[in-house]
């Protein structure tokens, strides 16, 4: 935050963040919100590993264990990984394409607040007694019979935050389609922007099936319909299909932006253009496309039939090809480069072998007959943690270090960063490598304990030790953040000295209008080109003129709050399956919806033209806004 910001009262700062529509501030919100849920999910993971520290350990009851792993998975995927990626995308993508903001600043803010209130609603389940306990997949046959309101927190919370994600996805797509600076053609876009683009289109097409199926589950539990009730003609396989039609693209929604982050980091610190840029783009698109045709590999043991299993097995293995292209491109980017080892680069180096292990076990599971052996064992747990932690979480940690100066204007400590990396890397492999073998030795997943003398004791013990190392690593990173913030040593535009893309031409953090003049783009790695030609900043594409800015508004918070309130009314409606309907429920539901739709109506009839920063004010502004003069 700038020196002016520090002088303001806490209330003013809080109000600023509640009403902001600035993508850079919304990125901060996503980072704090997602970071909070990441810690929550991490604590849940540690509690799970304590329970599994030794055989028949009574650390927690079986019911609590079910709730714990359900909430761990749900929180980590929906409330930690995706928002944290959104934080980096929001912070960086508009800068990379030379835009002053996203296409719909209002919707950007609405997307965040919907995610936040949805996440809070889901986690209120802990406070009010019954957390969801049917796994993050919440298969319908099981979730219909779950007692209490746990699953209702799951459906309503995810529905609200899902709307937010969909809105953010559309926003990024339109931003990238319409807001690129002159000269920034699609084939000159940085990889993080490309992967954001593809991930956002996956969001656009993958979230509607989830929305539909969550509605079905919600109706079944809250209004006693029969979508999944076999006795009334329902069909539980419908849920499985919809969940994975969403769920498989979801893993690409997570991993593609992570690939983008690593592409930026690897080319920056190899001080070399990304090898095979166009094949990288092609591979990204291909992964996105194939990602929609493989969902049934999660359902091989459902009994879809040999033909269906064979088709989905082949399609699954095909994805290894574009992913392999990417791996080789990263290796060849480093080949012959002048590599500089920094904290983000270390994560990138750690990522490549870790992710390859996860990919190889993925292809193993893609072999349908073998999957009958591996299904529902710890082998699966090991596999998806290798791709999600070894891919996504490494990318988030690397990205946090890499973009921290651009987001906050300070540099995280390198020394503490190395310690975090070493502990996290070793802890990660210690935790999950042995789980492959635990799975092969027959340990089923999602089971609260195991018996001694079956050869599982040592493996689980090692795994738990590793988990604690990762926990310590994250604590050290938090300490690092606190120390850095307290020291508050401001850095320049290009703190890594080798920045290639346009964000590094701007101040750290950029001034609120980003670019004083819209930049002109002459090729891939815009800023690198300018630096090589001895320019101090970007070439402007237009003369200095008034800048149009959107107004701040509190409405997104109110719209999201309305849905949050309505969700309680929905949950306690008199028809609900649990049978604890409350007389206040229907009025609360109506009030909540009135708040939401009323605010939307006010938003649409009240003109909001934004405001202009006059040219004179810009000329006197000491900030350069990316332009050399």
């Amino acid at each position: 935050m700038s020196s002016i910001a520090e002088k303001r009262s806490v209330g003013a700062v809080l109000w600023e963040y509640l009403t902001t529509v600035d993508h850079k501030k919304i990125a901060h919100l996503y980072l704090f919100g997602g970071g909070f849920f990441f810690l929550l999910g991490g604590i849940e993971a540690l509690l799970i590993r304590i329970q599994l520290l030794k055989p028949q350990f009574g650390f927690m009851s079986e019911e609590t264990f079910n709730e714990m792993f359900t909430m761990h998975g749900t929180t980590m995927i929906f409330l930690a990984a995706m928002p944290l990626l959104f934080a980096l995308m929001n912070a960086v993508v508009p800068l990379q394409i030379g835009a002053r903001d996203v296409a719909f600043p209002f919707l950007n803010s609405l997307g965040f607040w919907l995610f936040f209130f949805g996440g809070v609603f889901l986690n209120l389940a802990w406070i009010f007694g019954d957390a969801p306990d049917a796994g993050w997949t919440s298969y319908a046959s099981l979730s219909l019979f779950s007692e209490g309101h746990g699953i209702d927190y799951y459906t309503l919370g995810l529905q609200i935050s899902g709307f937010g994600t969909l809105i953010s996805g559309i926003n990024f797509l339109v931003t990238i389609i319409n807001m690129r600076a002159p000269g920034m053609t699609f084939m000159r876009m940085p990889m993080l922007t490309w992967t954001t683009f593809i991930a956002s289109s996956l969001i656009l097409f993958a979230f509607p099936p989830l929305t539909a199926s969550i509605f079905f589950l919600m109706f079944d539990r809250l209004f006693t319909t029969n979508f999944f009730d076999v006795t009334a003609g329902g069909n539980t396989i419908i849920w499985e299909h919809f969940f994975w039609i969403f769920g498989h693209p979801e893993v690409y929604i997570l991993i593609l932006p992570s690939f983008g982050i690593f592409s930026e980091i690897i080319s920056t610190f190899s001080r070399k253009r990304l090898f095979g840029y166009s094949s990288m783009v092609f591979a990204t698109i291909l992964i996105g496309f194939l990602g929609f045709m493989v969902w049934a590999h999660h359902m091989f043991t459902t009994g879809l039939g040999n033909v269906a299993n064979a088709i989905f097995a082949v399609a699954t293995m095909a994805i290894a090809v574009p992913t392999g292209i990417k791996i080789f491109n990263w290796l060849l980017t480093m080949w012959g480069g002048s590599i500089k080892i920094t904290v983000p680069m270390l994560y990138a180096l750690g990522f490549i072998p870790s992710f390859v292990i996860g990919g190889v076990t993925g292809v193993m599971q893609g072999i349908a007959p073998l999957d009958y052996q591996l299904h529902d064992t710890y082998f699966i747990v090991a596999h998806f943690h290798y791709v999600i932690v070894g891919g996504v979480v490494f990318a988030l940690l690397a990205g946090a270090h890499f973009y921290w100066p651009k987001m906050f204007g300070t540099m995280l400590s390198e020394r503490l960063g190395y310690i975090t990396f070493v502990l996290f890397f070793i802890g990660f492999h210690l935790t999950f490598f042995i789980q492959h073998f635990l799975g092969l030795w027959g340990m089923p997943r999602r089971v609260a304990t195991f018996l001694s003398g079956q050869g599982l004791d040592m493996g689980n013990f090692i795994s738990s030790i590793g988990a604690f190392m990762m926990g310590i690593a994250i604590v050290i990173m938090l300490v690092n953040i606190v120390i850095t913030t307290v020291k508050n040593q401001k850095v320049g535009n290009d703190p890594w000295e080798d920045g290639r893309t346009m964000e590094w031409a701007l101040e750290s953090p950029p001034v609120y209008y980003n670019f004083k003049q819209t930049p002109f783009v002459r090729g891939i790695d815009t800023y690198w080109i300018e630096k090589m030609e001895g320019n101090k900043g970007l070439t402007p594409a237009e003369p200095l003129d008034d800048i149009h800015m959107p107004n701040n508004t509190i409405m997104p918070v109110i719209i999201s709050l309305g849905l949050f309130i309505a969700a309680f009314g929905m949950m306690y409606n008199p028809m609900n399956q649990v049978g604890d309907g409350k007389p206040w429920a229907i009025p609360v539901l109506i009030i909540g919806l009135c708040i939401t739709f009323g605010t939307m109506l006010i938003r649409s009839i009240k003109d909001d033209h934004g405001y202009h920063i006059p040219k004179e004010e810009l000329m006197n502004d000491k900030h350069k806004g990316g332009i050399a003069s």
């Binding site: 389609i177 656009l204 069909n235 419908i238 299909h241």
Partner: protein
């Protein structure tokens, strides 16, 4: 915008063009009504036509109507609709896979 440079003739030209487009749209509408009537008739008198002919036939008519809506009523044939149409067809692809799966590999 170069508002002042727009001449009266170009306005008239544009109006003629959109009047022509309007006539096409009206024609499209008549065809859509016609197709709808055919669909209803072929089902209402289904003792006249075998049902394994009627089903694909009315689905085809529905498909044509959708093309009409998209390209004539929603102006997708105009310039600047490349990106929207790319995403619409991607959506149609995902939609097709979903419906195909639910017609084939959901247990009965």
């Amino acid at each position: 915008m170069e508002n002042n440079s727009v001449h009266r003739t170009s306005v008239e030209y544009r109006r003629k063009k959109s009047a022509k487009e309007m006539r096409n749209q009206f024609l499209t509408f008549i065809l859509m009504i016609f197709f709808t009537v055919i669909s209803f008739v072929s089902v209402a008198y289904n003792d006249l036509f075998p049902s394994n002919f009627v089903a694909p036939f009315i689905l085809l008519l529905a498909g044509i109507q959708v093309i009409f809506q998209l390209y004539y009523f929603m102006h997708a044939s105009h310039k600047g609709h490349e990106m929207p149409m790319f995403f619409m067809y991607s959506g149609v692809f995902a939609a097709f896979l979903t419906i195909l799966a639910f017609l084939t590999i959901v247990w009965w």
